[in-house]
C-alpha cells in the first residue's frame, strides 16, 4: 500500500510524519465552516441533496435496550424509508452492535435488502477500554456474523498519552482481520481529542494504518460531528489523496438530526474534499432521527406544504 511509504511503521517515523502536518487554527476553521454553513440550497439541488443524504445514512441503533424486534424494524426502514414512495433510495447501511449483526443481516436478506451492508461497532465500543485480545475477537465475531463494515474506536487514552504506535498497531491489527471481508471505519471520538490539531493527527494516523473511512464519533460523547471537525477531516482525506492517490471516506456521526444539518455536511464535502466524495462509497452520515426529517422535507418539496411526523414511520 503506497500510503505506507510515508512511514516505515515505527513509532518514530509515525511521530515524525505527524509532526510535519501543519497546525489548524481553530478560529479560522470555525469561520470557514460557518461561512459554508450559509450556503443556500434550493429547489433542484435540495431535492438532489436530500436523496443523496438518505443514501448516505448509516441508519443506527446502539442502545443497551436494542432487541431483535427493534433491529428488524430498523432494517425494514433502511430498505424502504417510506413504504408509500418507492422512488426513495435505501440508506447506506444499518449500524448495530455486534450481537445484532446476524439478526440484521438475516432480516435484510429476507426482505430484499441484500445490497444494504450491515456495519458493526467493534473493539469495545464506545470506550475502547478492553484488552487487544477482546477487541480482535469482537471484530472477528462481527465479521463472522455477516458484518461487511466495521466501525472501530481508537484508543483515545493511548493517543492522548502519546502512545501513537499503540494506536497505529491496533488499527493495523483490526484492519488485518477485516482484510477484504469488511470495510474499516475508524472512529476518532473527536469530542475526546478536543483540539483540531489532534483531529488532524488522528485522521492521518488512521489513514496511514489502513482505515477505509475515518469517522468522527461514537455518538456517545458530545460534542460529536461539529462542522469544524468534519471540515478538518475532509481536508485530511483530500490532502491524503494528493500524497497517496487513495481516497479515504469520511463519516460524521452524532448530532446530525435535521435536513439542514445534513445538507451542510454535503456542502462541506463538495467544497472541501470535492465532488468525488459525494457518494455513499466515500461519505456516510451516522444517524437515526435524521432520516425522518429528510423524508418530511422531501414531502414538503413535492407537495409545497410542511409535513407532520404522523406521515413518517417511527422505526
Amino acid at each position: 500500500m503506497s500510503a505506507l511509504n510515508l512511514i516505515d511503521g515505527s513509532e518514530t517515523s509515525l511521530r515524525r510524519f505527524l509532526q510535519t502536518l501543519p497546525g489548524v487554527d481553530q478560529i479560522g476553521a470555525q469561520e470557514r465552516a460557518a461561512m459554508l454553513g450559509t450556503r443556500s440550497i434550493k429547489t433542484t439541488s435540495k431535492k438532489w441533496a436530500i436523496d443523496m443524504a438518505i443514501s448516505m445514512i448509516d441508519l443506527t441503533t446502539l442502545e443497551g435496550a436494542d432487541t431483535a424486534g427493534k433491529v428488524r424494524s430498523l432494517c425494514s426502514k433502511a430498505l424502504r424509508p417510506d413504504p408509500q414512495d418507492a422512488s426513495i433510495p435505501h440508506v447506506g447501511a444499518v449500524c448495530v452492535y455486534n450481537d445484532m449483526v446476524g439478526i440484521a443481516r438475516k432480516h435484510l436478506d429476507s426482505i430484499g435488502g441484500q445490497s444494504i451492508p450491515v456495519a458493526a461497532v467493534a473493539t469495545a465500543f464506545p470506550s475502547g477500554r478492553a484488552s487487544r485480545k477482546v477487541k480482535l475477537q469482537d471484530t472477528k465475531d462481527a465479521i463472522s456474523l455477516g458484518a461487511t463494515e466495521i466501525d472501530m474506536v481508537i484508543d483515545r487514552g493511548a493517543f492522548l498519552s502519546g502512545q501513537l504506535g499503540e494506536v497505529f498497531d491496533e488499527i493495523r491489527a483490526i484492519k488485518e482481520i477485516c482484510s477484504d471481508k469488511a470495510h474499516l471505519k475508524v472512529i476518532l471520538e473527536t469530542g475526546e481529542l478536543v483540539t483540531l490539531d489532534n483531529v488532524r493527527k488522528a485522521s492521518y494516523l488512521a489513514m496511514l494504518a489502513g482505515a477505509d473511512f475515518i469517522k468522527t464519533s461514537t455518538g456517545k460523547v458530545t460534542p460529536a460531528a461539529t462542522a469544524p471537525v468534519v471540515l478538518v477531516m475532509l481536508e485530511a482525506v483530500r490532502d491524503f489523496f494528493e500524497l497517496s492517490q487513495i481516497r479515504i471516506g469520511v463519516k460524521p456521526a452524532g448530532g446530525i438530526r435535521t435536513t439542514k444539518d445534513a445538507i451542510k455536511q454535503l456542502v462541506l464535502v463538495k467544497e472541501i474534499a470535492g465532488a468525488e466524495w459525494l457518494n455513499p462509497e466515500l461519505f456516510r452520515i451516522g444517524a437515526s432521527a435524521l432520516l425522518n426529517d429528510l423524508l418530511m422535507q422531501r414531502m414538503k418539496l413535492s407537495t409545497g406544504r410542511y409535513s407532520s411526523a404522523n406521515y413518517v414511520t417511527v422505526d
Binding site: P22, G28, A29, K42, T43, K270, N279
Partner: protein, 480 residues
Amino acid sequence: MSDFEYAPAPESKAIANISKDYGLFINGKFIASHNKKRFETINPANEEVLAKISLADEVDIDKAVKAARSAYVKVWSKLSGKERAKYLFRIARLLQERSREFAVVESLDNGKPIRETRDIDIPLSAAHFFYHAGWADKLEFAGFGDKPKAHGVVAQIIPWNFPLLMLAWKIAPALATGNTVVLKPAETTPLTALLFAEVCQQADLPPGVVNIITGDGSTGAALVKHPDIDKVAFTGSTEVGKLIARSLAVSNTPVTLELGGKGANIVFEDAPIDQAVEGIINGIFFNQGHVCCAGSRLLLQENIHDEFLNKLQKRMSKIRLGDPLDKNTDIGAINSAAQLAKIHELSSSGQAEGADIWSAPCQIPNKGFWFAPTIFKGVTQAHRIAREEIFGPVLSVLTFRTPQEAIEKANNTPFGLSAGVWTDKGSRILWAGNHLKAGVIWANTFNKFDPASPFGGYKESGWGREGGRHGLGAYLKGAK
C-alpha cells in the same frame, strides 16, 4: 451520479424601495438641487439604471453647511451627551430593523455579494452606531482631557467600496463627540446614504445634524473648501487625499485621511496552511478586492511556494462569481466601468512585465463589470503590480527566504495600512508585529473589523485612526 450544483438562491429585490430620483438631504428634508443637474447610479452587475441622483454644487453645499452650523449652534452642541447617545442608539436599532433592505440596496448599487452586505456591511454599520452611542456621554473618560470639545461642522467624504459602513465609520463618532455633519457619498454608490437619511428622519434626529449631499468629485472638492468647515474626514485614494491635505494646508483645518494600501500577507512555512489559504482568499477577494487594507501582496516563504500555490489555486477554483443577490455568490461585480478599466490596465502591465498570470475558471456574465479572481506568480518588488494599489481581485505572489527578508519586502512600500502574518510560532508573530510598518496587523486572520478596534495607516496610508477610543480623537479639538 449528478453533481451537486447549487440552484440559484436569489435574495428578493422586492424589499428594496428605491425611488426613481433622489434630492439632497439638507436640514432634515430631501430637496431638489440648485442647478437641477442629475446623474444616474447603476447596478454594476447588469448596468441597469437604479435611480437618478442630484448633483450638488456650491450653492447646495453652502446650504448644507449652514444647516449643519445652525444645528450645531442651536441644538446639537446644547444637547447633553446622554441625549446624543439616545439618538445614536435609535439609529443603530433602525439599521438593524431595516437590515435586509439595506443589504439588498447595497448589493444592487455596489455590486458586492449579498452574503457580505448581509453578514458584514450592514451589521457592522449598526454596531458602529451602537458602539459610539455608548461613548457620547463618557467622553471625559476617553483620555482627551476633562472637557473634550467638538470641532463643530464636519465635512466627510466616503468611498464606494463599503458605502454604508464607511458612512457609519464617519457619522457615528462625529455625532457621538457632538459634531454635526455634511457627508458626501461616492458618486457610484449613493443609495444607502440616501436610505440612511430616511433613517435619520425616522429617528427624529434634529434637522441639520446630518446632511447628505450627493455628487461627483467636484462636489467633494467644493465641500472641503467651504470656509465654514471645522474638520474634514476623507476615505479614498492617496492621490485625492493629498489634494485635500494640500487644499487645507493654509487654513490648517484638521483632517483625517484613510487612504490606499498595498498590504503584505506573509505566510511562513509553519503556518496553519488551510486557514492561511482561506486568509489569503479573504484578504484579496473579499469585496472583489475593493478594500484599502486588502492583502494584495502574498509573501510566501520560498520552501512552501509550490505546495501553497497549488492549494490556493484549487481553492480559488471554488470561488463562485456571479449575481450579487444570489446568496451563494462569493465574488460580485466590479463597482464601475472605470474601476474595471483600471484593473485591466494594471493587470496588463503585470503580464507585460513578465509575471505569470492565472485566473480562476469563472463564467463571466455578459452584462455588467466583472473580473475573475486572478493571481500573478513570479512577481518581484520591481513590478508595478507589487507597488501600485490595484483595488481589484488581483493578487501578486512574491517569495522570501528569511523572516528579515519578509519584513523588508513587506515594508518596502510608501503605504502602511495593513499586513498579515501566518505562523504557528507566537514569538515570531510578535516579532513581525513589531517590525511591520502598518496600522493594522492581522496575525493568523485577515480583514477583520470591529468598532472597538482602531483602524488606520502608517505613512502614505493616511492620518489618524477610526474606531475604538483612539478614533474619537479625530473628532475632538486638540486631541492627538
